[in-house]
Amino acid sequence: MIILQIAATDKVSTVLFFGTIGMLALTIGLVVFIIFHQRKVIRYQTRLQKLEQNQQKMLLNASIRMQEEERQRIAADLHDDAGPLLATARLYLNENLVNLDKATQLQSIYSAKQIIDDTIQLIRNISHSLLPPTLKNFGLESAVNDLFQKISGSGSMNASSRFHDYKERLQTETELIIFRVIQELVNNILKHSNASFIHLTQNTSGNKFFIRLHHDGRGLTQADFEKLNKSNVGLGLKNIQSRLKVLHGKIFFEKDMSQTYYKVTIELIKEGDNVLDA
């Protein structure tokens, strides 16, 4: 009996010992796994955050450079064109004018008036290029039609646009951003693609607002766009991306299935009657 009791006690002790060790091992294993897994996740999240920060930094720099270039252009236009014109007009309207005969006075006044008219037109053009009044007064569809008509009118290429579902205007700020994006894309096509036609279409599908730009010149694919965006060049494209980010929009560059033309698609989410804005 005593031997049986001792044997039973030994068996219980063995089970107790191994059971305790086993439970401890499981517990420690669980805790160690949790710690290391979380460290891995945090490291990955930190890396992602850094990548996003770098991308934001690049977009911000591109945006600032673009603004500075535009300011320089406006300053140059005003300094090189408007400045000399006004200076010339001033020459005609000096104090000695009262001492000259009437015919000469009239001629001087007429010349000064012509120069001032030219200056007014110049300043009007600068102002229109900053913010087209058609966009503000008549909306995106009219402004885009206007832009495309001017391109077609120049004779360099055939440009047309068609808005299928644009019964109600979007918010002014949203229209301006979309217009700037279209302007930038069209400028790129004019500068780099050697295209003979550009066609823009607008439509909506469910809660999405689409703008598609087709051209038959040398274009970009999505891979090219992403590559240029990550590099230090491609200022205009970075600007497009920053602007679309404000509207939570997307842009896709692709070559059409028929391989005859390139297509750029801008996709924006509509909430209610307006494109989602920040």
Binding site: M23, L30, Q38, S242, V246
Partner: protein
């Protein structure tokens, strides 16, 4: 060896209580720490009672086991953010405490065995859910920088270490004299060390937050 363990055990039991008062100003607003403080205080009181009322030692241990489950469950109730799970904790705790009290007074089964098993299974389950929740939180704080982590680790190490001891020790009266009781003392010490770390960590919690110098993400949400 045994007297050394007793002294160490007593010091370990007192350390969470002492540390709570040392860092009282910083920690007084953390309700979860109050729960652990009261649990530690109850442990100390139970320790003295066991020495004082040797005839009713098994009753003291049984009531302490029920209170232990209650305090641990209360801590998880305060720490877990998922509302559904906290409601489950309440429901399960009411059932568990009711069942344990029934077992204690009806004597139809070995109370130690069932109390230890149920407490261990439930608290380990709550711990696993707590860790799962922590891993899914979008925070940059390392999990071991949170005082809750140390308390949970203390709970599960203690419960897993003493589970088999309570399952295989059928006679409570002999427990105090059993040489196997040293396992319980050892894990009590480990548990109290983890609890003490939690009280210290909670004090430094704000300093340990990883700050993130990121660009203003609202930058692109302003109009051009």
């Amino acid at each position: 060896m045994a007297p050394l363990f007793v002294i160490l055990g007593l010091l370990a039991q007192l350390s969470p209580v002492v540390l709570f008062f040392v860092f009282f100003k910083r920690n007084k607003k953390i309700i979860a720490l109050w729960v652990i403080f009261f649990y530690a205080l109850l442990s100390v009181i139970s320790g003295f009672l066991l020495g004082a009322v040797k005839n009713h030692a098994s009753l003291v241990i049984s009531y302490f086991a029920i209170c232990e489950y209650f305090f641990f469950a209360a801590f998880f109730f305060l720490s877990i953010r998922n509302r559904l799970f906290t409601k489950i904790i309440i429901a399960v705790s009411i059932a568990t405490i009711g069942f344990e009290l029934f077992l204690l007074y009806s004597h139809i089964a070995n109370f130690d065995f069932w109390a230890a098993l149920i407490t261990a299974i439930l608290i380990v389950s709550y711990s696993i859910f707590f860790f799962y929740e922590q891993l899914n939180l979008p925070e940059t704080l390392f999990i071991y920088q949170s005082y809750k982590f140390w308390i949970v680790v203390g709970c599960i190490v203690y419960l897993s270490g003493t589970l088999f001891l309570f399952l295989f020790t059928s006679d409570l009266k002999d427990k105090q004299n059993s040489s196997l009781w040293i396992i319980n003392d050892a894990f009590e010490i480990v548990k109290n060390i983890f609890f003490s770390i939690a009280f210290i960590i909670a004090r430094n919690n704000k300093l340990n937050m990883i700050t993130d110098d990121s660009y203003d993400t609202n930058m692109f949400e302003k109009s051009f």
